[in-house]
Point group: none
Amino acid sequence: MRLLLVEDDRRIAADVAGALQAAGYVVETARDGEEAWFLGDTEDYGAVVLDLGLPGMDGLAVLKRWRANGRTMPVLILTARGSWAERVDGIDAGADDYLPKPFRMEELLARLRAIVRRNAGHASSVVVAGDIELDERQMRVSVRGVPITLSPLEYRLVSYLLRHRGRVVSQHELDENVYGHGEDHDSNALEVLVGRVRKKLGPEVIETRRGFGYMVPEAPP
Amino acid sequence: MRLLLVEDDRRIAADVAGALQAAGYVVETARDGEEAWFLGDTEDYGAVVLDLGLPGMDGLAVLKRWRANGRTMPVLILTARGSWAERVDGIDAGADDYLPKPFRMEELLARLRAIVRRNAGHASSVVVAGDIELDERQMRVSVRGVPITLSPLEYRLVSYLLRHRGRVVSQHELDENVYGHGEDHDSNALEVLVGRVRKKLGPEVIETRRGFGYMVPEAPP
DNA sequence: TGATCCATGTCAGCGATTTGTCAGGTCGGT
DNA sequence: ACCGACCTGACAAATCGCTGACATGGATCA
């Protein structure tokens, strides 16, 4: 993925660019506001890392002009000044996230991944198994195109089973991943939950493997 | 698509026109500022490729007069002089992109495609979802064309939800992006805020996904 | 200065949904 | 036929989100 890094301090720019390249991004760098604005307005980037303290045009102004021109790429703001008010300014200008300096490189990478994923937007992440679909963006499942309302716990169960479809998932594993804990088992809450989901999605969706756990088959007949 | 190429050097004009025609455009050529101005003002072109070094009227002056007359076709500026300052001048005059000579023909084509594409979606900077509109430039919201007055916080909420429409946004994410913090939650301020926005924009605009968060549905076509 | 307005947070109570528990019932394998 | 694993329906408790009323605090204006 192609990134634009806007940073006037050459040392920092080199460090960050190096880390981003090591993480597999293609990085272009702008050193002042004018250049940043021009590149961001004319080229297509998967994301922008934008330092606020710039010579030339202020970073926030650059961002605002991009947004005013309809540029929608995700933007991660970097700034030395960490005030709450400024963060809100950044968000108003259309930033997607905000990272105060100094920061650890892993955090930059994590936040970048997060905003890119969130922004990946219209490329909906949909998991399909047989005639049931899981739309992770809308947190909704549908059966043969009919959307079904699931409660949060039900959704987590379906989501986990669907992402591990074609494999038997033990009750213990489900306990860990659907509820937070892994223990205290004198409850049949999970079985009840499975029952409720079956009532909504139809009984064939989740198979019982007596003594082993549950499974959503890869492609039901 | 019909293009206007403004270039006084016959050799370059022929080269560029040839490449553009090979790429499937219909090309008309102007050789001086007066002719360019007249054609651009009276005919309809999908885009203009405009050389700045012209006899007669200067290219920038031509562009400014077009814009002053309300001509909005995308314009790509060509110039031998490559300073950032001049780029910015051109952009202030209303150019959509800028290409310094010498250039590779593929780059010209790429930039042309880019400005044409961007110009096609020029309703942008306005986000539309269903019958509500968000004008990010003016920070205003309207429903079915009727402008609505929102308080700063209400605007931030709507703006964030609209920029991420079609996706469920958790209360925590909203807390972070509407207020500055992600902490201290024994408050229902966000729910109250949502309620107030609904009272102004109508109850269907923001969907509640109990246990998940809120969502503004994608505009149905 | 005081009166007033507006934006925003807090609180309490409601109604609906969600979820755990329990008490049988069913099913499958030995 | 038996046993344990699993299912089902019913109920109660907990949780969630909405609403109206009120409190606070800053800005504005007479």
